[in-house]
């Protein structure tokens, strides 16, 4: 059996890349990684450790043009059983195109490996339920939600072939990219500290950042906070913002409206800090602290520093 994985070779080699390679390996058979972008070959060869048989990097495609990338992947897809993407902005753009082009069923938003009947578990109803989807086509495309399976190192590096195959002129011209430097992209973060209106103003975010730094977590916020401009929009998690599934989600001063929960209910462990014991978020939480964030958060940060120092 032959499987393909697509990864974006611009920027760093993300955890999502290790996840999709691990996933494809566990489907069985050989795994060929198709990459586009400027990434160094030596970096890409490390994907062998997660089960990649080989990597092909196409230097002829430099941007994120889904039309070019889908055409290139399709040209490599003969006799391939599965094509795996991360269910990120690129997976969401390329995989549907490829599905139509190859007439291959797309299983979007997978959260685990296939069941014995061949169906794959996906997130539906904004995290309020799971569905089990089967593809009826000979080839299958799967886009995997980030943080759904743990990357597994099983081997050594693998060969990388650099090729240049141009797939026509790009129709989507990139004018600029706004990316906060050094920040952990939210969908990839294993821990997230998030705060809401309970913080009373943007000037109080320092303690949220201190708590996040103590854990190595990313910071996020609720919708009202992004809407009134206390925090940038890319930090907004929830149904209309970014959907995340970290191992640990700490929500501070967020009441837990249904739309917020829809974006975070995939988190493995949820800690809620709120002054209001009746806040609906406590019903979705694993651990709760009923108390004033201005007192609780510095204490929690200190306790984490103490814990880390003792490790």
């Amino acid at each position: 059996m032959k499987n393909l994985v697509y990864i974006n070779g611009n920027g760093h080699l993300s955890k999502a890349a290790f996840e999709v390679v691990t996933y494809a390996k566990k489907l069985g058979g050989n795994v060929t990684v198709l990459a586009t972008g400027k990434m160094d070959s030596s970096l890409l060869s490390s994907l062998g450790a997660y089960g990649a048989t080989e990597v092909l990097i196409n230097r002829g495609i430099t941007g994120n043009d889904d039309q070019q990338i889908a055409a290139w992947i399709a040209s490599k897809a003969s006799e391939v059983s599965n094509i795996v993407f991360s269910h990120d902005f690129q997976g969401k753009a390329i995989a549907p195109r490829l599905s139509v082009r190859l007439k291959a069923g797309l299983i979007a938003g997978a959260v685990s490996l296939p069941e014995t009947d061949g169906s794959v578990k996906v997130n539906v109803f904004s995290g309020k339920a799971f569905g089990f989807v089967k593809a009826h086509s000979a080839q299958r495309i799967i886009s995997l939600l980030p943080n759904s399976i743990a990357p597994e190192e099983i081997g050594n590096s693998c060969p990388v072939s650099e090729i240049t195959e141009e797939m026509g002129a790009t129709t989507v011209r990139v004018i600029s990219v706004k990316k906060p430097e050094g920040a952990i992209p939210l969908p990839e973060a294993e821990m997230v500290v998030s705060a809401g209106r309970g913080l009373k103003g943007p000037e109080h975010w320092g303690m949220i950042e201190s708590l996040a730094n103590s854990l190595g977590a990313a910071t996020a916020c609720s919708r009202p906070v992004a809407d009134i401009g206390w925090r940038p929009h890319h930090e907004h998690v929830g149904q209309t913002g970014v959907a995340i599934r970290p191992n640990l989600y700490i929500a501070v001063g967020i009441s837990g409206a249904i739309q917020h929960l829809a974006g975070v209910n995939g988190s493995k462990v949820i800690v809620v800090v709120n002054t209001d014991a009746e806040a609906p978020f406590f019903k979705a939480a694993d651990y709760g602290v009923v108390g004033d964030a201005f007192e609780v958060i510095p204490k929690l940060t200190e306790a984490i520093h103490k814990f880390k120092a003792a490790q």
Binding site: G105, S119, V124, G131, K178, L248
Partner: protein, 246 residues
Amino acid sequence: MKILVCISKAPDTTSKIAFTNNNSAFDENGVQYIVNPYDEWYALVRALEIKETSGADVTIITVGTSADEAIMRKALAIGADEAVRIDAEPTDAFMVASEISNYAKTQGFDLVLTGKETINFNGAQIGGMIAEGLNSPYVSIASKLDVHGTMLTLEREITGGVEVVEVALPAVVSCAKGMAEQRIPNMRGIMAARTKPLQVLPSTVTEALTSYVTFASPPAKSSVKLIDPNNMDELVSLLHNEAKVI
């Protein structure tokens, strides 16, 4: 300029999510359907804003049965000019997208808009599939869209940031928060919607590539463990020893 806005029905966000028929189908009992929020608040309203500033003809399309005409009338009441319903029970994203691209192919739309995903299936598939069917460029998860003649300038989400891109019409765009604000239809709009054209066309696609075998509800969350606000060491210890996340 001709704009096509693809809309889908979705259960109201407060609906109870339950399944029937041995967990093989969504239990519609007592469920109130709305226009999928991404389709309505962002795609449709932005199309109407373009119509108001530079003139456009806005058509909405859905693939569904006559029961879906209620949400179509809502979209007309908000301000769409005309509506098209492909008369078929939707089976999967490929089928729905193929119905829409088969229709759109012959109609000369300059811009096709969808929501970034539906809140019931969360697949984010339709826009890209329509774009492939029409052989058009596609910009996914756009939070800003401006028209300059035959060009579009957009902001779209990328991992950990935002990309500003430019694309020539015709194009397909999936719309996310930031692009427009929700509009409530007024009485005049609701009255006018009754007489706006709603065309029903036969299905052209029989094939589906995927199907749901079964559904499951997430395991019930055990009740929250409350920690004394003066004992954060206990919380840290629980996160380490019990939850094993730090």
